[in-house]
Symmetry: C2
Subunit: 496 residues, 2 copies
């Protein structure tokens, strides 16, 4: 256990190393690291008193709050697993999550949907009841919990329509946070405004990196541009969870320069934005922000900031992870070829909660299979192609619809496209494209096929193109079952 | 094994992610990451062919060379342990190391001492013989080695006159490298000049951080100021192993600006130096460089760069480690009190090679006991006091000689001081100081006792002060046995 460093350990160290640093700001509440540490110990004691033990689940249903971080840290101290669930889901979806996790405690904020669910003695209302719980917790010591134990469950990956809870250990979260410290060049004094949803890894990962470096986490219930401006000004925030349209909204809210946003060190955007903030030159901010990631890798697997000028749209791997682009037989494909993005390393999740079969499949042969397609470019950078939803088998060749769709959509006349496999007596399957053109645009089948051939291997080009008004969707991806049914798809490898 | 990331894995990833990056420069030799990866695989295969297996030791005896990094990485690939030993030791000391480790292979450079040792078929001469070994290695795959396995052995900690080999795992080395990436804000493109001895953790830790971020390691046999200038200029070096007098020597060698050293991003020093280089503003360079460290924690345990303006001389802990200041009963002492610096976390060593009793003692109760005294200041920063060589028991109180010596030496008249415990019928021991005054300076016993009382707790002040011309030393520390014998010391806790 001498090598173990749990989230609880990180907090315990900061309580000693940074007694004068504000750990948490949430409305009127301000907690130094020693105060946060003391509250987390009392909360852990109170949860233990309510029967929460090692491996038990604790659920938060509500907007952003200091309670999210406290519950996570208390679960780390106890060896329990914390799940900040998406409180905006339907009653049916929420019931699924609660049944799936079987939590030993639920802390919730009122909403019409949440209020109408069945409550029992495991439920604690956020606000006064939660504060009472913390205040009543006994002052006690907890034995060390190994950092390999899962501590955070985030729902994601609805492969079959229902989501799965990715389990992240303290070791993975600490490693991922450290990778952000490297790429974002975070230093003590970093102040993060948690204005994105904490049930999503995108906000949670910066919250935890801020904890890791001993910075300050400011919580606000949700994104409100004016409130973001006010908090940045008042708390001298270094970074918030902002991109594209959110940045535009902040610029608009701060028209006239009512608030001083110069403490924000962030990516360049419009001239107005750049004039309000301090444009940061860390790799994370200097490049186009981001990379490729998913909850199962702790957040980011590749960083654009580690591949400036690189060919791949997703950058280079985290210094704490490995990436392989694998063929369907789990053999690495050569650079330039598309395959499934697979990952291994310190930031990886520990499988999905209570999904042994899925875990065996996703984690086979010592690699996590992300379910996403990518390509290693000749310069070693990674391009993210799209989700690996289907594979078409044409002769001996594997064709991934997402790659062909990407090529089709790069044609200026194409608004949307979906690619399916249709049974073929000679080749097992043939590639068929369903294309929705932009309003007023025109393109022939031959032209589109030639366009695809100019971009990817010839055997991947559609043999047939049909036009449709729109592509039916399931979430963000084509509804392949519906498209197969409408356009004669079938004979997929592995199908009966 | 999905969470494992060995040094060999880091190299294997870079071979894919950075095919165009130079990994190693050594004289005429330049290796890209794929070339280094291929050489390491062949070397590992050749070593395996010579009988080197999991857990076996491989020793390097020579100056800095690309071979040091290659042997370390080949041992990681094989699951063996690599020891770059201090080749400048006496024949007797070298024989001790070789007998202690029982290496399965020794790669050596000629020196009079090394040439006179007994050689057998395990010995391979650096240079042509080593190159032949690499060239003859079979191209083969190696099974994954868990990153918790020890991979590097560095001799240190000569507690009883003979050194002990601290074993560092890949996991610890990767974690420590990552902590340097954070504090030094290292980015891809970082080029490190290995001009300090690679048998010491101070140079090795930056070599490995450079590997971790996919930068370039330049090797030069030893420190030569003119050659440092030439290499910085030619290879656009970002950082070299330089401090104090070495910086002065480089400035002198580059008088007239013969070489362009502007690629060096490093700490400010003299005006001349600052004008030659680019003064860096990462936490590592912005503050006074360094902190507190030792081989057993992978290098650095605390960083000054994480505690700008802090009270403690050693800064704040690494984001990947915990520090406790413990009393002799292994209970944490309050802030402001001196105790032993103890550590836990991702960068920690795995014990000393073949020292089960010492390991049980040093790693007791889940913490590594550094053998050094420190104090947590009220602001949470750490002050390093000195080695914990002795403890004096006076009444119920523990008095560490190093703390009292530090207080004495802060008096302007004092050149050196040693503090011992003398038997006392009432208090078990009494504190006695032996003081060497600066030439021409004068101070009375009463004055020195008052001076100490003004700085530390009154019970720690010497009851008696005697003056001596000089303090006998063993290495850098007082020879307490000799001083006890000369001045009546004895009755130490634990002594007969």
């Amino acid at each position: 256990m001498i090598h173990s460093l749990s989230l609880s350990d990180v907090l315990a160290e900061h309580a000693r190393s940074r007694p004068g640093t504000t750990a948490v700001v949430d409305g009127e509440l301000r907690l130094s690291y020693p105060e946060l540490d003391a509250r987390v110990s009392r909360l852990a004691g109170a949860l233990a008193g309510r029967g929460v033990g090692g491996g038990d689940r604790v659920v938060w249903l509500g907007q952003n709050s200091h309670a999210v971080l406290e519950l996570l840290l208390a679960c780390s101290r106890l060896g329990a697993v914390f799940c900040p669930a998406n409180w905006r889901q339907s009653a049916d979806e929420l019931r699924f999550v609660l049944q799936d996790l079987g939590p030993a405690a639920v802390v919730w904020e009122h909403s019409d949907t949440l209020g109408a669910l069945d409550h029992d003695e495991r439920w604690v209302r956020a606000g006064a009841d939660y504060e009472e719980l913390v205040a009543g917790g006994p002052a006690r010591e907890f034995p060390q919990v190994a950092d390999a134990e899962p501590v955070l469950a985030l729902y994601t990956a609805a492969f079959d329509g229902r989501p799965n809870a990715a389990l992240l250990s303290s070791a993975a979260l600490v490693a991922h946070a450290t990778s952000l410290l490297v790429v974002r060049q975070m230093e003590p004094g970093f102040t993060f405004l948690n204005n994105g949803p904490l049930f999503h890894v995108g906000t949670m990962m910066f919250c935890l990196a801020t904890l890791q470096i001993g910075g300050t986490n400011v919580f606000t219930p949700a994104f409100d541009p004016e409130e973001v401006c006010r908090l940045v000004d008042a708390e001298r925030v270094t970074q918030a969870f902002l991109f594209g349209p959110m940045i535009d909204a902040v610029v608009k809210a701060n028209a006239g320069g009512k608030y001083d946003l110069s403490s924000l060190r962030f990516v360049a955007a419009s001239d107005e934005w750049n004039a309000m903030i301090t444009v940061d030159d860390s790799p994370w901010c200097r490049s186009k922000m981001g990379g490729y990631g998913q909850t199962e890798v702790g957040g980011m697997l590749t960083f654009l900031g580690l591949a400036e000028g690189g060919a791949g749209y997703a950058g280079r791997p985290s210094p704490l992870a490995q990436v392989r682009i694998m063929g369907p037989d789990d053999v690495e494909v050569p650079a330039g070829e598309v395959g499934e993005i697979c990952a291994r390393g310190k930031t990886l999740f520990s499988g999905y909660f209570a999904r042994p079969d899925l875990n065996a499949e996703k984690l086979r042969n010592g690699w996590h299979h992300t379910g996403d397609l990518g390509r290693r470019e000749p310069d070693g950078t990674i391009t993210f192609i799209g989700p690996k939803l289907r594979m078409i088998k044409s002769g001996a060749e594997n064709v991934y619809p997402a790659e062909v769709e990407r090529a089709l959509k790069s044609h200026p006349a194409v608004a949307d496209a979906a690619v399916i496999g249709v049974p073929d007596p000679a080749w097992h399957q043939a590639v068929k494209a369903v294309v929705a053109l932009r309003e007023g645009a025109a393109a022939t089948t031959e032209e589109l096929i030639e366009h695809v051939r100019g971009q990817i291997a010839s055997y991947k080009k559609p043999r047939e193109v049909v036009f449709a008004d729109e592509i039916p969707k399931r979430g963000f991806t084509p509804d392949y079952d519906a498209i197969d049914a409408a356009h004669g798809g079938g004979n997929y490898p592995g199908s009966a």
